[in-house]
């Protein structure tokens, strides 16, 4: 009987996630009143999925620590939605909903994978939520943000250089800086300063000289990342920059140049770096070296394949067999136990967030804000694509995490900042409109 409940819960969860996803996309084309109704339903679905998943986990483990932890998570999600609404009346509710949905999925899967890590992650999430609280407020009041291009560049490059010089290596890449007990991943923060830098530069001017200077500084970011062997971040920065130049100038030549340059750089990286070759070999034929280089990706494929469309159910698979499953390969764990359909819903929600970002970008009148929303959105979705493509062997694994779901403090804090900046821009626009309507 217990088996049936656990088994059926997966189908129910997937159905609810599908409904959540459906309403997400329905929201894009309806009036405000109906949208609010859909958004309320989304909240209900999210809390139900969260509750059901924790019930299953309790049935499977009998671990009583799950009760208070569930309560704390549910309370946090509820408070976040309610307080955000109270403080920021004109917020983008859909974006807030989606953040909470992705966070709840992250809580579920991390609790499943490692209770201790989940606790840690939860603590960091709460702190991040509080810290990111002020950001929309700042965005709305500080026009000076667009005048500090070189400050962003200095901070960004300084942080990256510090990692290169003094960083700790993990899995062959230098990613983190030790600050006392805490390991910080500066590249996550630099993602934000980078977008602000490029936006500020192009806001000032998009003449040739400005583009060359900006490109040089952007290239420097990427080079330092590649030298630190953080290829995933390097790629994210690169793609983001190319799209930002393209949108800023509306000139196709930059897109063509960018991608030609990207292909050239990829070939050069393949020739120069052994770890790039290892990644590509592991991607092309992981079965030939299943004990070493191919181990992680084959275990991930086993997880996704064995879980199949509907998943094995929480605590019924073996996601622990995949190395670093709670970070880069968290999507494989979601797919294995909660079902590939569920994982696809998660990806569609990420895509929904991206589309929302782009809608904000389109609504912005000032080029600076437009580029900020665009750049952050591209960074976000490229990262999602790299991690999803990596775990499914669609593309070589680049070792990046799935924002808001993977384990990692810097990542969750920066994603909060990222979403909050876009929220700030959204509110800016809404308030302008309201002011206009009110006849000021």
């Amino acid at each position: 009987m217990e088996g049936l409940i656990v088994g059926a819960s997966n189908y129910v969860t997937i159905l609810m996630a599908a409904m959540y996803t459906y309403w997400n996309f329905r929201c894009f084309g309806v009036d405000e009143e109906r949208r609010d109704r859909y958004l309320k339903r989304q909240n209900r679905m999210m809390f139900l999925i969260h509750f059901l998943s924790f019930s299953v986990m309790f049935l499977k483990t009998g671990d009583e620590r799950l009760f208070p932890f569930y309560g704390a998570q549910a309370a946090f999600l509820w408070c976040f939605l309610a307080l955000y609404g109270k403080c920021y009346r004109s917020r983008c509710k859909l974006l807030a909903n989606n953040m909470c949905f992705l966070l709840s999925v992250g809580f579920i899967i991390l609790t499943r994978l490692s209770f201790d890590k989940a606790i840690r992650q939860f603590g960091i999430t709460v702190c991040s939520a509080v810290a990111a609280w002020l950001i929309p407020f700042v965005i709305r009041r500080m026009w000076q943000l667009s005048r500090m291009a070189w400050v962003y560049a200095a901070v960004g490059l300084g942080l990256l250089a510090a990692v290169y010089v003094a960083g700790d290596a993990s899995y062959g890449a230098q990613l983190s800086l030790k600050l006392g007990e805490v390991a910080v991943q500066p590249s996550e923060f630099v993602k934000i300063t980078f977008v602000f830098f490029v936006s500020a530069m192009f806001y000032k001017s998009t003449d040739r000289r400005q583009i060359i200077v900006t490109s040089a500084v952007a290239a420097l970011h990427v080079v330092v990342l590649v030298l630190s062997k953080d290829l995933g971040s390097g790629l994210i920065f690169f793609v983001t920059y190319v799209f930002m130049v393209f949108v800023a100038t509306s000139d196709w030549i930059y897109l063509v140049l960018g991608f030609a340059g990207g292909c050239g750089a990829s070939v050069a990286a393949w020739k120069l770096f052994a770890h790039v070759q290892a990644r590509v070999i592991a991607w092309r034929d992981p079965w030939a070296d299943i004990d070493n280089r191919g181990y992680q990706i084959t275990q991930s494929l086993f997880a996704i394949g064995t879980g199949s469309w509907f998943g094995l159910g929480l605590y019924q698979g073996m996601p622990g067999k995949i190395p670093v499953v709670e970070k880069d390969f968290v999507l494989a764990a979601v797919s294995e136990e909660m079902g590939a359909l569920f994982a696809m819903c998660v990806l569609f929600i990420c895509l929904g967030c991206f589309i929302q970002f782009m809608m904000v970008a389109c609504e912005m009148e000032a080029m600076f804000y437009k580029l900020v929303a665009l750049g952050l959105g591209v960074e976000y979705i490229v990262q999602v694509f790299l991690t999803a493509g990596g775990v499914t062997k669609f593309i070589p694994s680049t070792g990046v995490t799935l924002p808001l779901i993977s384990y990692g403090g810097s990542s969750v804090l920066c994603t909060f900042i990222l979403f909050s900046v876009v929220q700030g821009l959204y509110m800016l626009k809404r308030e302008e409109e309201e002011d206009y309507e009110a006849g000021y």
Partner: protein, 489 residues
């Protein structure tokens, strides 16, 4: 219309930078959405099509969890006889029973102490249930396990029994397959063991010295190929002398002396004047040793490589790679030895069978396979496997010449044990020395009927003496049974 209004209109038609930027953003959204749909499509394809092949892997520990909800399915012979079945013991625990005891011990394998043979190969199918979803939910409600799918093999019980009986108490291996399809019909390795209760007898089996019962000699046993290797030497000679191979002449004195070394024909037989066909058919060592010296060493190594030496074999069971190590700087003595299948060359019986089957099939090797189809517990089809081509090991003309020469071995040469009115047969015998003072390993590899080969067999009898006297009769029994059985139908 006033001019400034005109200008105004034109200005409106041209896009502002903001509009241009927004159009670029829209293009970007389309691109990203397309990428994600591509990714989802790829994942969907993976789950719908390649999933089963991928996850049915011994590195996938998750499959063991399936046994919690599914009762391991049956393994059946090609005619539906049960080779392995899971039954409930009196105490409610599950027991895997093998009705034929030791007969299929290596090829079907066991699942109680690790998994081997078809138990490993078909593990995923055996632990997957394709009964109808309603009854699956019913079983889940009542807490019973779903019955796993059954694997129907290509194995023929009568052939397997005959091969085992013919080998008797001798150590060795017998393998048989259909050359045109690659269906493996029988695979016997001796000494064998009883997979029923393998866990209980495990310690005594592994502590036994000099037996290696658990090793499947058919695919993992590396033996010097002896004179069966002359097939490969002959093929290389044909390649180097495509026009004048039938001009070959050798005068056999029963031994050949080269420097300090002397090499004898089997039992010192003096063959006298020999053509190439006669030298092959009588297995004249002198002729092949001298012929071997003429051959291009690089070409020989290439041909051996093409015939799957030192490389991967298209086998889904655990196997050993055959070894051919003669390099371009090999001394003459090594060349002599290698040409007659002694020296450092080592080969598994299954590999020898694949080469033989390719000759029988006009040069094309079919991938050997063991699983004919998968059915659900009620015999309804789930999945079936078709013959697949591995590739060409030699061209059709080479295969034809080899086939004719191997037929002559039976009609006029060392393969006399297979002479019969009932059908035509082709083959090659071998008596491989492996340790001074011990009897030779007896080899036979061949196929029948010559014109339209339906079965290929390779036999190795360890320390069996002469291939023609010990190994060939084993093959004879399989041919008689298989070809007679089909005629009787």
């Amino acid at each position: 219309m006033r001019p400034d209004i005109k200008r105004e209109k034109r200005r409106k038609r041209e896009k502002t930078p903001k509009q241009k930027a927004d159009r670029s953003i829209l293009g970007l959204v389309y691109l990203i959405v397309a990428l994600f749909l591509g990714l989802m499509g790829y994942v969907g394809y993976f789950l719908a099509v390649s999933r089963e092949d991928v996850i049915n892997n011994s590195y996938n520990a998750r499959l063991d969890n399936f046994s919690k909800t599914v009762e391991r399915g049956k393994i059946l012979s090609s005619d539906g006889t049960v080779l392995a079945v899971t039954e409930e013991a009196e105490d409610g625990s599950e027991v895997r029973r093998y009705p034929f005891g030791p007969l299929f011990s290596h090829v079907v394998g066991y699942s109680a102490r690790g998994k081997t043979g078809l138990e490993a190969l078909g593990n995923f199918y055996l632990l997957t249930s394709h009964t109808n979803p309603v009854s699956q939910i019913g079983e889940a409600l009542t807490g019973r396990k779903n019955p796993g799918d059954q694997v129907v093999t290509t194995l023929d019980v009568r052939l397997q029994q005959a091969a085992s009986d013919a080998l008797g108490d001798k150590k060795g291996a017998v393998v048989a397959m259909e050359p045109a399809s690659g269906r493996v019909l029988a695979m016997v390795s001796k000494p064998d063991f009883d997979p029923n209760g393998i866990a209980d007898i495990w310690d005594s089996i592994v502590s036994e010295e000099g037996q290696a019962r658990l090793v499947n000699r058919a695919t993992q046993g590396l033996y010097p190929p002896g004179s069966t290797f002359k097939i490969i030497t002959l093929l290389e000679y044909l390649r180097e002398h495509p026009e004048d191979y039938d001009q070959y002449q050798f005068d056999c004195q029963g031994k050949i002396t080269y420097g300090d070394y002397t090499l004898r024909c089997y039992h010192g037989t003096v063959h006298g004047s020999q053509t190439l066909k006669e030298a092959f058919g009588n297995s004249c060592n002198g002729a092949f040793a001298s012929l071997g010296l003429e051959l291009d060493k690089k070409g020989m190594a290439d041909t051996a490589g093409q015939l799957l030496f030192n490389g991967e074999q298209p086998l889904s069971l655990a196997y050993s790679k055959s070894r051919f190590s003669m390099g371009e700087d090999a001394p003459d003595w090594e060349v002599l030895q290698t040409a007659i299948g002694q020296g450092l060359t080592q080969m598994t019986p299954m590999h020898c069978l694949m080469v033989t089957a390719a000759i029988a099939n006009g040069g094309t090797l079919m991938n050997p396979y063991f699983i004919e189809r998968v059915e659900n517990a009620f015999g309804e089809p789930v999945k079936s496997f078709e013959p697949t081509v591995y590739g060409s090991l030699m061209d059709g003309e080479e295969a034809r010449i080899l086939r004719d020469m191997m037929a002559w071995v039976v009609t006029d040469g060392t393969g006399s044990a297979l002479r019969t009115e009932a059908y035509t047969a082709a083959g090659k015998t071998g008596s491989a020395e492996f340790e001074t003072g011990k009897e030779t390993h007896a080899w036979f590899t061949g196929f029948a009927p010559v014109e339209n080969p339906r079965i290929a067999v390779t036999v190795v009898v360890e320390e069996g003496g002469s291939g023609g006297q010990t190994a060939a009769p084993v093959a004879r029994q399989l041919f008689d049974l298989y070809l007679g059985q089909a005629d009787g139908e």
